[in-house]
Subunit: 484 residues, 4 copies
């Protein structure tokens, strides 16, 4: 049955029985547990937005597999317009949630695996694509949420998968049975995992032939036997867990996506859900495509977040009576400038998109990497500017419990008020929103989500086509083009 609304989505989660730990205890119901509920609500927005007429053209697409109208988050990009609509959809959702809404990672995984299986099949005569398409049609028809699972623990970074002392530092096949495979290991930092329906497991890096058992792709339900999830801590998570309504900053939505460890302890996957098995020469391709799609997104959702931050400091400056200051306007200008620079690259890598052999569209890899790389700088600078404009009070504000305390509430109200016409609560709420969006976890995610900065630099150097650039320089300097 297709999930059509946010409520449908929450209902669907109640049907599942994933094993989740948090703070040393089990989470029974992710929809109602205060630690996970805000993240569920953010993901739910990806469902509910499709019900709004003005956004339907962004949020929905027509499946090239079935011709059905489906959620864009389950769609295989068919052309440049699809890529650009995705960017606009992500920025919109960033503006509406002020956080990670978690569905990109599965979306990008689907697109990376789809085009890769096509090419594996071409080379090896396998039928991975058929299997994958069958699964994907179900995802599209039921509008399921998929967590794309890529990042392994990696143990000692100076060693590869097959060289680790503990082989489980990378997820691997421990047994190939007649009916399927058995896997062991873990995936870390899994955004949206606890409130997804399915996991799509992919290799974490390009591998050589020594790592055959590590080179596989498969999908599996989130509550399959042998799967344990441990939900991670975030900045100020107790404000969320205690359901504080002001101090939490964003009462409805989480800080970032709600990340979890997914541990696989001898988990069985039937062959029909295995989409790569040992073709190590294609590990690079799927990683590369997943990474490019994912990096492309960061200029979209994060510019949406920066729109929120920019709006927050603008309103706060009005409250505090400083909105006309030239340095205030200049810093707001800089915030806009930086977020639009990020957005540029998301749009540009989409506009320069090209078809893969499967027909699925890929973003331009160089520009997608450039996009994410700027996020690892500009989001920090935008946050720094927001902190500058907010003023020191976001670090020293009394709690909402003091605000509403009978003895001293009047003092908090009195001494945190701004211009006469705006309620003191507005100032405090906006301050808490800025606090929530500029500190800790939120920033770390921008740094490392979709790959750490050095991963992008390696790609940028590799795709820089330096030979061609040297030809230009030599020609202009009057240097003859010699052999070699």
């Amino acid at each position: 049955m297709k999930i059509k609304t946010g409520t449908d989505y929450m209902d669907s989660l109640r049907q599942l029985n994933p094993l989740i730990y948090y703070m040393g205890k089990k989470i029974k119901n992710v929809v109602t547990h205060p630690a996970t509920a805000p993240h569920v609500r953010a993901a739910a927005m990806t469902y509910s937005i499709a019900g709004q007429d003005e956004y339907k053209h962004l949020a929905e697409a027509t499946s090239h597999l079935t011709g059905n109208s489906i959620s864009r988050f389950t769609h295989i990009h068919q052309n440049m317009e699809d890529l650009i609509k995705k960017v606009k959809l992500l920025r919109l959702l960033g503006q509406k949630t002020g956080t990670c809404f978690q569905r990109c990672v599965g979306f990008d995984g689907i697109n990376a695996v789809y085009s890769t299986t096509y090419e594996i099949d071409k080379k090896y005569g396998t039928s991975y694509m058929e299997r994958f398409t069958k699964w994907l049609i179900r995802i599209q028809d039921e509008n399921l949420m998929v967590v794309g699972a890529m990042t392994d623990p990696k143990g000692d970074r100076s060693k590869g998968p097959a060289e680790q002392k503990d082989p489980d530092q990378y997820v691997h096949i421990v047994e190939r049975r007649e009916d399927g495979i058995v896997i062991r290991g873990a995936k870390l930092h899994m955004t949206g995992a606890v409130n997804s329906h399915e996991i799509l497991i992919m290799p974490t890096t390009a591998m050589d032939s020594a790592s055959r058992d590590y080179a596989f792709i498969c999908s599996i339900p989130i509550d399959a036997p042998g799967i344990t999830m441990i939900f991670g801590r975030q900045a100020n998570d107790s404000r969320r867990d205690l359901k504080e309504t002001i101090d939490v900053g964003k009462p409805s939505f989480g800080i970032v996506g709600g990340e979890a460890v997914i541990a696989f302890e001898n988990v069985f996957v039937p062959w029909e859900n295995v989409y790569m098995d040992g073709e190590t020469d294609f590990t690079g391709m799927v990683v590369h495509r997943f990474a490019a799609h994912h990096r492309a997104n960061y200029g979209a959702c994060k510019s949406g977040l920066m729109d929120v931050l920019t709006g927050a400091v603008t309103y706060l400056a009005q409250i505090q009576g400083s909105a006309r200051g030239s340095h205030v306007r200049d810093k707001i200008t800089e915030m806009i400038h930086l977020s639009e620079t990020l957005y540029s690259s998301s749009i540009a890598c989409s506009a320069e998109g090209t078809p893969t052999p499967s027909g699925a569209y890929m973003v331009d890899t160089m520009l997608a990497n450039v996009c994410k790389h700027n996020v690892t700088r500009f989001h920090f600078e935008v946050a720094r500017l927001a902190v500058d404009l907010a003023g020191g009070f976001i670090a020293t504000l009394p709690s909402e419990h003091d605000l509403y305390n009978e003895e001293i509430g009047h003092l908090v109200k009195k001494y945190f008020s701004g211009v006469d016409s705006i309620p003191v609560e507005d100032r405090i709420k906006i301050g808490r929103l800025i606090e929530a969006m500029t500190g800790g976890t939120a920033m770390v995610e921008s740094m490392h989500g979709a790959g750490s900065p050095q991963a992008q630099r390696i790609m940028i150097f590799r795709e820089g086509d330096l030979n061609r650039k040297m030809q230009f320089a030599k020609a202009l300097a009057g240097i003859p083009q010699r052999d070699k």
Copy 2:
């Protein structure tokens, strides 16, 4: 007769008789005079590139006015694809010339005036567009080079056009005659002026009704009576003027576009070439559109220049035996990253282009401003990195006259050689190329061409839609939306 090749272009210039001064003397022939020849050659590349099959799809377009195949530089953008092809053409020409090829300014002027005349006519029932289209068809059919003339001297910056002590600080109409207008004033920093065929004069800023005589648009041949041009100095111009072949860095092409003052001393313009006359309420529009188009281009041509610089330092590192250094690779990566970031915005503002009422396409203004604004930062940083990688020798290199001197040439050769397999001349030539592309005039142009940084910041703030952003923030912070 249509100009089809670089040679045709040079021949066409020989037919003109503009009055040009440089270093206190008249320049008779811009094609052969050493001060102007390199700039003529760069502009000629915009003609000759169309003759190469692999580039024709970028360099040519189909006129929506005549259906003829025309140079893209005379085309009115009809769709997003036109805007993107323009970007690719400009980057290519940047790579091929390593400098400004000068035709954008007229190209952008044509596009800005075209769509503006349409809207003036709609409002006032004038027939400027008919006049302009007639002129434009000639430009397209003959493939003429047009200098878009916008920047006035401005005198005391704290005062507007009509408040200046000397009224000529902004070009203005001094007489309206039956057959046309008489104008006086000057335009500064006119790129490519001395080797253009026509001037397209536009107002330099949005004006109010006190400035009617300053609010006009017209075109005029470069050698019309009353026009005097003074060609400006550039960094190391003597190396160019003395036709040095190594020390000049780029023996074929100039440092930037070859800028001139154009002074108008009571110059007559017939009515058929007047496309605005006193409609001050449209001055903002034409300036805004010209600026947006022009700013959009800077991420294209400058990324082409940065490709050259990146290639130059890469080759130099090979010559010097330092190409494997991790910090060398890291800095090259950064150069690529920055240039691709600029390119992103050029592509993005094109991909987000929209039609004006006339049907002509406009780039996205926000992203175009963001594009140019980043140029004013990143080109400097790329140059700084190139200087870092080049090494100190580009500041202390003996001259080519020493290199070829009988007594000491052997010392220069001996002590400036690098790895064994590459001739010392290559190192010196690449060093001089980097010197030419990173110092002085080249950088100033990136700062101020298409508007100084503050001009972009004003636009970015203005187009930032802060009310909408505040709505997002309030919604997320749980602040009720009150009546404004």
Copy 3:
């Protein structure tokens, strides 16, 4: 009785009865309450360090008033060496506590008030210095902790003290009685207030003659009648309040200094503790001197904090097996470079210190402002680099409750381990330390403590001596020096 050790200090706090609220409840004992205890321990370090032989030469000084050996934190700087020793002491304490140890603000207040009272007395024949010296000798002899109280709420920033609708937005004298004054208002962001012995109240800004009642200086015990303190929230304060030992990051010390609102509701101050009363022409001086001293300190304590962060990422890289990566070393180099740049300005403004008329030494104002201004940039960049090097796990780590959970603890241990030889707890602890030192409150303090960035820019511009700089330029350009 003189406080000699950290334990003495804690004992002394137990003698006081300040009225403190936090999270809607009263704090009875700041020494033991988990919310304040870590901050008390950091302040205690300023006492205990003096007992260590190797640090005594930094931590102690000889009072110019009594000749006694006193804590440097109660000393009036007598020469350049005093200023430099202070810098070294602050960096050391930053390294030892990784946080704010809170005593600078009183230290700087004492120095600012001392020299200012001297000059008021000279001009007006008052005897403020005598009063102040008497009080100061007690502070020195008993080694008391003083909170320097400067920042008022300010209400509507577009208006001055006397123009606010609510006069209490700036602390002011509401009554002058025979035996003293009665004051009302509040001071915000008061570092270390809840665990100080005395408050030294100073005006928040330069004032004109309309603001006489706002222009006063006085001291008062922390538990005087009418004083209410509200202790502010900080990032991840629940981890501290619940006494978590790993997840808190720094189990012994707080995030920053522990800031509080201090509200004065008709508080009486006897004349002997009033050190300015209405001399508005000296408000600028005391603010200026306090700000300069305080800004000078930031390059010292913060470089100490950055030393900790640099050590943390270095160790983490060793644990993760990535310490030999060239980009890792390069980022560590950058962290060192930035912190030493900050330290430079602290040392430099001390080395360029000069005596005031009172004999007390002042730091160089320009360099002190430059110092703090760089903190508002570099601390953020150092944190960004630390986050980069730490990796994404600091945003997604399971809690210590999961680490020690019987069912899943083994999974946390297994999948967060690094190289073989180092315990997994080390990795988790270092990750939590980095998390604590790079997110939220810690960064906001660096931005706004000792004045927001714009405050420094105003001073830098004002002290830039542009006339002299113009003379240099004119002389070199060959421009005759004309009158004016």
Copy 4:
């Protein structure tokens, strides 16, 4: 006979007969040749400044060898005050000349060699210090200018001195004779070489025992037989060589120091002027000390240059009527901020100076490297800001020949004028000054003089004391200090 004035200095140069080439021709008289005269004048300022009473305390010192009053540029630093006075002297000379005055390199060489010879003698029982002191007393008594010669050509950077195909890529001893040594090779980028009296040759890098013949120190007169100098090109050198008075920017002084190649073709040096011969284990020391002293200076002279630039743009803003613009003031503030940050490190590394075993004072190495490293960033940013504030006209200005041309001079005057009260020549002169100080050679020198950026980063990492920093982090995170 002691040189006491600038004129004395110029007279002394006329007594020498160095072999100098420039632009393929010999320079006979460096005092009058237009290519070298401006550099001679800048160096002369180091002599004449000592004759001005207000600067004498900075410009002179008392020799610890003879007790005589000597030029500070020949002094061995005896204490921290000497180091600080040097910094103030260098900034002053930067303000007065707007360029490099060239004497630091010998000054730093003298200080590095002095303390190193002391330590060689201690270890090996040699008598280098006695020889060196004898020479130094002559330098002090006659007040001679010494060029410190360190940088070798280096050929293939991936190979060391002894591995080069051409052994002359590093200066080396080709023969040890009874009366002295014979050397061959070259030194590049030799600032002030053509107008110095003596050369002090030092090794360019730390060397191992395979490089004994490369590990030597000696001094030699500039016009010794076998020495050939080739004077390098600079940005816009023709404006200098043609004695243009406006377009050159700084009519009296050069762009940078006037650098030359010094080639040694079998040059004889008597033993009494040899101060190291094969003690490879001390090569690192002399390089390290020279580099540290030299890097310390850059925050002094360059902040002097930035003072000039800041004054120039301030005056230009006044001329152009834009001085009140908030963004103009903000950029000027930033220029001041950056230059004072540099100055901080020069002061700080001096204030933290320590004695070597010889008694000569060394700057703090870490802070000296930090100082120079920031120069390689901030000087570029200051130049960028100056270019921003100057406006585009510095890239397109007509020549002074046009300004004074009879036909068109009136147009140049008319259209480059600013506010009414200031002559147009002022605007043009200031524009040319900014052009001269922000482009090309001037910036390259800031990048590579005293060592390229990577050289500083290596030192900063090496001196970062990471073990100690890791101890701090472990202690705070609650990690037990284990063995190792």
